[in-house]
Structure formats: C-alpha cells, structure tokens
C-alpha cells in the first residue's frame, strides 16, 4: 500500500546491478525504438475507451451510495473460508464449500459500501479495490485446487488423491477470468529443466530416498 522511498538503503553491489541494468536497458531501448519506428500506430481511441471503463468501474466503487456490506466483514469471511478450505490438507467437500463461499462474497461485494468519499488519502477506497482483486485471486486458488485431483507440494489431498499424478497433473493450472462467474480452469504445459518432480520424504524415508538418489547417480 505504501510506496516509501528508500534511496539510502542501497546495499553494496547495487551499483554493479545498476550498471548491468543500464547496459541492458540501452539495448532494449534501442530495440524498442526500432520497433516503434516500424510498427503502425496503436488505436488510441480504443485504448482510451478501455482506460475510461476501468476508471469508471473504480470511481464507481467510491461514488455509489447505499451499499450495506462492510469491507472488513467481507475480507474476514474471505480469509476464514480460505483457511477452512485451502490450507495444506484439503478435501473436495471443504474446497467446494470455499468456492461457493467465494462466489457468495463476490456477489455481496457488489453491495460494498465505501463511506469515505474524499479524494485525499482515501485508504478505504483503496481497500475496496484491493478486496475485489483479492476475491479474484482467492477464486483462482480455490477453483484450481478443487480441480487438481492429486497431491503435490503444499496441496495435500486426503480424499483419495494422496499421490502425485504426473500423468494427469504435471501441468500448470490456468485460471481464466469469466465476467460474472467463477474462473474457468484449464491447463498449460510445464517445462522442466533441472529440478524433476520427486517425493519429498523426511526422517528414515528421507534418508532412504537420498541413498537411492546417490546410488542412481553412480
């Protein structure tokens, strides 16, 4: 929320990074200039229209009156349902409940009330804007989790999908924004270079796995 300036916090070494950035920035800049010269002009009228639509939506949050939902209430209910359904250990039933709850919260958000109508340091308006995006992100997480019928990393299912399933789920979940509804989930390919997926084992099982790994490298 706060963009504070910390120019004095430069650790040693930053200067080198700055030089590298300057070098690459120049290269990129030259490429961009070449592209700009060659490319046709963008449709500024259409861009302006898009920007105005965004502005209207955001300003609308502040100017509308008569809303009855408090930002903090929605935010806390969101946090609680994420705790309930999308912790480390997960079940379809509770994840579904979380998805339903998030749908409900998005619906209720339409009735959100921003009391502060001012234009100076209006952090309540900012909180409302943030909350709407947080709900989008929460839906992305919950719906992706529900669709992922396997266990992987911090997504541990206890409802029949306890194992990692590289055949069906060695892929990125992709959430697509859908106007007026929950996100559409599909999948994209994963490109693995060095770090192959493996079982994360600890204690005796971990030592055994480590020995096997070493033996296989001999």
């Amino acid at each position: 929320m706060l963009q504070r300036r910390h120019p004095w916090r430069q650790p040693p070494g930053v200067e080198f990074a700055v030089r590298a950035v300057r070098f690459w920035t120049r290269r990129r800049g030259e490429e961009a200039a070449r592209f700009a010269k060659a490319a046709a002009a963008g449709n500024s009228a259409s861009l302006l229209k898009q920007a105005q639509a965004v502005e209207q939506r955001l300003v609308g949050l502040k100017t509308k009156t008569g809303g009855s939902e408090r930002i903090a209430t929605l935010r806390k209910e969101m946090a609680q349902t994420m705790e309930d359904g999308c912790g480390i250990y997960r079940l379809a039933e509770t994840m579904q409940a979380t998805c339903d709850k998030l749908d409900e919260l998005k619906e209720r958000f339409k009735d959100v009330n921003v009391e502060d109508k001012s234009s100076v340091w209006n952090t309540e308006w900012l909180l409302a804007i943030e909350l709407e995006y947080q709900l989008d992100v929460a839906q992305t997480m919950a719906y992706s989790a529900l669709h992922r019928r396997e266990s992987r990393g911090a997504h541990q299912r206890l409802d029949g999908f306890e194992q990692r399933d590289d055949v069906n789920f060695l892929k990125h979940s992709q959430a697509h924004y859908v106007v007026g509804g929950p996100p559409r989930i599909d999948y994209g390919p994963v490109k693995i270079t060095k770090s192959q997926p493996g079982t994360r084992a600890y204690g005796a099982a971990g030592e055994k796995a480590e020995q096997e790994r070493k033996a296989s490298h001999v």
């Binding site: 929320m1 706060l2 504070r4 300036r5 910390h6 120019p7 004095w8 430069q10 040693p12 070494g13 080198f16 408090r70 930002i71 903090a72 009330n113 921003v114 009391e115 502060d116 001012s118 234009s119 100076v120 340091w121 209006n122 952090t123 309540e124």
Partner: protein, 251 residues
C-alpha cells in the same frame, strides 16, 4: 462480543482538507483485548466504526516505520504501544507533531524526503574501484563505527520529539544527521567534505540544543542525539582545519 469485553475510548485527531477548516477531535468506543496495540485499535475503528479514518501502517512489528503517531502526546509507533497500558483511561492519538497534517493521522513527508536527499545518503566511493577488485572489506571495528546509525527506519518520531525542529523546520534534524554521520564514518566513503558543508550550515547541527528526547523516543536505538553532537565536534574541527591544512575543511 462477550459480556466481559472491555472497551476503551480512543480519541482521534481528525482532519479532512476537503471539508474541515481545522483539525477536530472524535472519540470512539473500541472493544479490545490485552494483546491489542493502539494500531489495532485504530484499525478496528476503520474496519467497523468509521471507514474514512486514514493512517499509515504496514508491518505491525516496528520494522517499517510507517505507523508513528502522537499517543497521549508522546511520539511512538502505534504498533508497539498497547491499549492495555492506557485502560481504563482514554487514549489520545494524533498525527506526529511538527509536521503538516495531510489527512487525519497522515503527515506530509516531503520536507523530510528533501532533507534525506540533501545528505547524499549513499556511499561516495573514496577511490575508483573495478568489478575485478571485488567487494570492499571492512573490519568489525570499521563496521561498528557506523552500524548503529544505519538502523534508522525513518519513522520520524525523533522529529516529532525535537523541540528545535518544532521551532525551525529547516533544521536538517536528528534522523537525517544520524544517517549523514553513518556515511561519513564509513571506511568506504569519501564524501565527508561534501556533507560537512551541510553539517556546518545554518540548518545544520548547531540548531540542536542537546535536549536528547530524539534518542529517547527512537524505537531502533539509533541514538541520533549522539550523532548530532559528535558532529558539533566535527564541525568545530572542520572550521579550524581550513586554516591549518591547504585542502582541509569544507568551503
């Protein structure tokens, strides 16, 4: 809320430049538990009582330096001040003293940012150094010379505490001088002569009357009063150096 819920009165200095001629006070009844900080009390007000109350905050753990306020007249970080210590009396929160109020508990920081920039808060290398020469090395002693003064989180409590800054807002002030000192005593730095001009200047260290309240309120034990007063000596030495050494002293 249980029957045993304690409530405390929080009196807040409000100011909205678009509707108010001058700041005014507003009192809120806030339910609280013993583990709640003043910041959490103020957040409760924003969440449930009046969404239009504005204040800065971020980390909630005395690291970021955003949530400084006058609490019962004393500058403090609201995240490390607890409501239980004021209960059952009313606790009063106001924007940091000596700064212009932008809105409610939010102060204007432009003046301070300008001061920070003016002290050149970065290492001005003593000698040109190439990448191939690797990093600078420092002994623990050399680190010790400035480390304390590098802990400042720019919370501005020291400025709200400083009576001299209150009288003359052009005084460079405790935090900025402590940081200036931090670079001047860094073995890698060669910018002292440039910075001494500011130390010696009208707005420099001699504004300080050694009250020491700045060091008392500092949440990070930077001890800015120490830095300021060491630089009174440095400034005096610098003054005499200009007569003794051909290149000595700032202009």
């Amino acid at each position: 809320m249980s029957e045993h819920q304690k409530t405390i009165e929080i009196e807040v200095l409000r100011y909205n430049p678009e509707t108010d001629k001058e700041p005014h006070r507003q009192v809120f009844e806030v339910p609280f538990t013993d583990d709640m900080s003043v910041l959490q009390g103020v957040q409760y007000i924003k969440d449930y009582l009046d969404g239009s109350l504005s204040f800065r905050w971020s980390c909630r753990m005395a690291i970021c330096g955003s949530c400084g306020m006058m609490i019962n007249g004393e500058p403090n970080l609201s995240c490390q001040t607890f409501l239980r210590d004021y209960y059952p009396a009313r606790v009063r929160v106001e924007a940091l003293a000596h700064f212009p109020i932008e809105r409610d508990l939010v102060i204007g920081m432009e003046g301070f940012i300008e001061k920070l920039e003016s002290i050149q808060p970065y290492i001005i290398p003593k000698e040109a150094r190439t990448l191939a020469q690797g990093e600078y090395l420092q002994t623990p002693e050399q680190l010790n010379a400035y480390e304390q003064f590098s802990s400042c989180i720019n919370c501005l409590l020291c400025y709200a505490a400083c009576p001299q800054f209150g009288l003359n807002s052009s005084f460079v002030g405790p935090a900025a001088i402590a940081l200036l000192h931090r670079y001047n005593v860094d073995s890698r730095d060669g910018g002292k002569a440039e910075r001494m001009e500011l130390v010696n200047a009208e707005e420099g260290v001699f504004n300080c009357t050694a009250v020491g309240y700045c060091s008392e309120v500092c949440p990070k034990h930077v001890d800015p009063a120490n830095a300021v007063n060491q630089n009174k000596t440095n400034s005096a030495m610098d003054y005499f150096l200009r007569f003794l050494a051909p290149k000595g002293g700032a202009k």
